[in-house]
């Protein structure tokens, strides 16, 4: 056995441990969920008959599931652009300053390491109609008070704002790393050619930052498609907000499976979510990643 083979063997041995973990903890349950989705699987009953695609048909006719699916897409469509735009602006600003950069970065990153549940409860108080500082400010300015989480029209955006706030620091750090990776010489060459400002940003920074953008979009989309804890905790009594206005697919899966004991339908909803995440991720990687060379 040559040295190379032995090394590779060792590497595979080490890789085997996480692989085993992945197979038993992640992959096996995923397949068992697919299996459950084809059965009528009430959590208690010992008889779990095969029902084919009936659970999927039930979901297709379930207005709450439809609502959850539409809401989930709205979270993605609002949250991702907001998070990426704000993250990029802050990263570019941070890149320009030399003093306190670490301090600012730490400050922006703090929400990301704050427990979601705690943050969600604080944000609920901030949004409170009667005690919240946001409405306090509006009252000071003699502007109309806002219901925020109590309004079906505003609640989804209120939850999105909290989620963007939470992931912003992470986004900034990712962008900073991406910006640092762009070689200085490109900027110097561009400056010699007379490019500056918006054009420099548009035609150089953005294309060279593309891998980071793709990663952010894909990763962020997965996070938003799986939104659960924020939604559950921000509308705790009436879970999913007034009239299901903040309900997400994952929260609905939880309600179906663990509150209403309909494991079959819950598993079917999970399968749908899995397919959606897969398709969107593949599409994003296809459409967004363009190799750039200079």
């Amino acid at each position: 056995m040559g040295l190379g083979t032995r090394r590779a063997l060792w590497a595979y041995t080490f890789l085997l441990v996480p692989l085993l973990f992945f197979l038993t903890i992640r992959l096996a349950p995923a397949f068992s969920a697919l299996y459950i989705s084809l059965h009528e699987w009430n959590i208690i009953s010992p008889s779990k008959p095969f029902v084919g695609l009936q659970n999927f048909r039930l979901l297709a006719h379930d207005p709450s599931f439809g609502r959850a699916a539409v809401n989930t897409l709205r979270y993605v469509l609002v949250g991702i652009p907001a998070q990426i735009a704000l993250g990029l602006v802050l990263a570019l600003a941070l890149q320009r300053i030399n003093r306190f950069r670490g301090l600012f970065r730490a400050l922006y990153f703090m929400p990301f390491v704050t427990p979601i549940v705690a943050a969600a409860w604080v944000w609920q108080w901030m949004y409170s109609q009667n005690f919240g500082p946001l409405n306090g400010l509006l009252a000071e300015l003699r502007l109309p008070l806002q219901p925020f989480l109590r309004s079906p029209a505003q609640s989804l955006y209120a939850v999105t704002a909290m989620t963007v706030w939470q992931f912003l620091g992470f986004q900034v750090v990712i962008f900073l790393a991406g910006l640092e990776a762009i070689p200085r010489v490109y900027y110097e060459a561009a400056a010699v050619d007379g490019a500056s400002g918006w054009r420099l940003f548009r035609h150089m920074t953005v294309p060279l930052l593309n891998p980071t953008l793709v990663f952010s979009a894909v990763y962020g989309t997965i996070v938003y498609l799986q939104l659960f804890t924020q939604v559950l905790n921000m509308t705790f009594g009436d879970q999913g907000g007034p009239l299901a206005s903040t309900l997400t697919m994952v929260l609905y899966v939880y309600q179906l499976g663990f509150q209403r004991f309909k494991m079959g339908e819950a598993a079917a909803a999970t399968a749908v979510l899995f397919a959606v995440i897969l398709v969107i991720t593949l599409l994003q990687m296809r459409v967004l990643s363009k190799p750039v060379e200079y």
């Binding site: 009430n42 959590i43 208690i44 009953s45 010992p46 008889s47 409860w121 609920q124 108080w125 409170s128 109609q129 009667n130 005690f131 409405n135 009252a139 008070l145 989480l149 109590r150 309004s151 079906p152 509308t235 705790f236 009594g237 009436d238 007034p242 009239l243 299901a244 309600q255 663990f258 509150q259 209403r260 004991f261």
Partner: protein, 414 residues
């Protein structure tokens, strides 16, 4: 040897049964003590007591019982009983040991609501009902002489205790509204009935609240929020926000269950009290919502274990145990006799709840989460979307009927 033989002959060999409940400290401690007492009275029977976190309870049962490891006697929320019966996990209570006639004579009326397929499957030690909690200091400050007896008085008290700041923000609510808390139960079993509407058909298969009076009742409730502005939904955040607001002295009155007594007692700084739920007129119909946890015997208990399980169940629902349960856990006794006990009824805090038991009904839920959501949504349709109550209620009834139909279609009867 001879002793063992004779013991076997008369069915006296030691038998071990298992009892399951979810984890709640005071219940766990008490049941441990009760088991010692039961074992002393019944030599030869050994009871193993196991408990699990509430959230994992159903999953635990679902995985253990098919594997033949489940309990012999199990504690369940009454609303889950149909699910467990349909799952084939419970055996009906033997008529010789628990005659339906005696159950209906000895237990508070709401227990009758858990008769399923014409049989009793489980019995409670303790029950819960609703009452009106009031902040005596706030009522006094608003010159309200006594806590309300009618809904009109209730409204007046709520209006006089609601406080708003210059910007129109409510700083103290007269009534701590909470549709997703206990209010949906109150609308269903109290307001509808007092407004002359039975919410469901007697067999529990049809939704019958979508009538003009039903809409009036719903409107009366939503008017508290939209017209009279005496309550704000999610005034304090969280599932128990209404109770937190009451404890903090920011809500003058709330409708809550007997299970809230402990936390109110521990937290409230102001003087507070409890009165029975108001009614429409002084002599008008009284109504209340009740709920309870029951003990049932699983199919796992056969032969001598079944005999032992029956004895243990009889012990758990006996009057002495119910008395200790009230003292130690704070849940109301399920026995009619104890409910009529003048000493208990005179208790300033437990009394109103105990009074309520005489006429409390436990809704027959087939899918409590979904059925609760339907009524919470109806309230929101009116409060947030300005839908006419009649329309909101019609839509709610249609949605809830679908949930009932789905259950009854699958349930073929045993």
């Amino acid at each position: 040897m001879l002793l063992t033989m004779s013991g076997l002959g008369t069915g006296q060999q030691p038998v071990t049964i298992t009892y399951w409940q979810y984890f709640f400290q005071s219940k766990v401690t008490l049941v441990d003590e009760l088991i010692k007492q039961f074992e002393a009275q019944n030599p030869g029977i050994h009871v193993v007591h196991e408990n699990f976190p509430y959230d994992a309870y159903n999953q635990k049962v679902a995985s253990a019982v098919p594997a033949g490891q489940g309990p012999d006697v199990i504690n369940l929320f009454y609303g889950w009983v149909p699910l467990y019966v349909d799952g084939g996990y419970l055996q009906p209570l033997p008529v010789e040991a628990f005659s339906p006639m005696e159950i209906e004579r000895d237990f508070v009326p709401m227990v009758k609501n858990s008769k399923f397929d014409g049989k009793y499957w489980a019995l409670p030690t303790a029950v819960r009902s609703l009452s009106l909690f009031y902040n005596a200091d706030l009522l006094r400050a608003a010159d309200i002489a006594r806590p309300p007896i009618t809904w009109d008085e209730f409204l007046t008290a709520a209006q006089r205790t609601t406080v708003r700041d210059a910007a129109g923000r409510t700083t103290t609510e007269g009534f701590g509204v909470s549709p997703a808390g206990q209010d949906h139960q109150m609308i269903r079993e109290v307001l509808f009935r007092q407004w002359g509407v039975a919410p469901y058909s007697a067999d529990g298969k049809r939704v019958t609240y979508a009538t003009p009076q039903g809409a009036e009742a719903l409107k009366w409730y939503t008017d508290l929020i939209t017209q009279h502005n005496v309550g704000v939904i999610d005034f304090f955040p969280g599932g128990n926000g209404y109770r937190d607001a009451f404890i903090a002295g920011r809500a003058a009155m709330i409708v809550d269950g007997s299970f809230a007594i402990a936390s109110v007692r521990a937290g409230a700084k102001a003087a507070w009290g409890v009165v029975p739920l108001p009614r429409r007129t002084l002599g008008g119909e009284r109504s209340n919502f009740g709920s309870y946890w029951v003990h049932g015997i699983t199919v796992h208990a056969q032969g001598p274990r079944r005999e032992a399980a029956i004895k243990f169940l009889k012990f758990l629902v006996s009057e002495p145990v119910q008395r200790v349960w009230l003292q130690r856990v704070g849940e109301l006794p399920a026995s009619r006799k104890l409910v009529d006990d003048p000493q208990l009824a005179a208790d300033p805090i437990y009394g109103p709840f105990i009074q309520g038991l005489a006429y409390a009904r436990a809704t027959f839920f087939v899918d409590e989460t979904a059925q609760r959501q339907v009524l919470v949504d109806a309230v929101n349709e009116v409060v947030v979307n300005n839908k006419p109550p009649r329309q909101a209620l019609d839509e709610a009834a249609a949605k809830e009927q679908k949930i009932l139909d789905e259950f009854w279609k699958k349930h073929t009867g045993k």
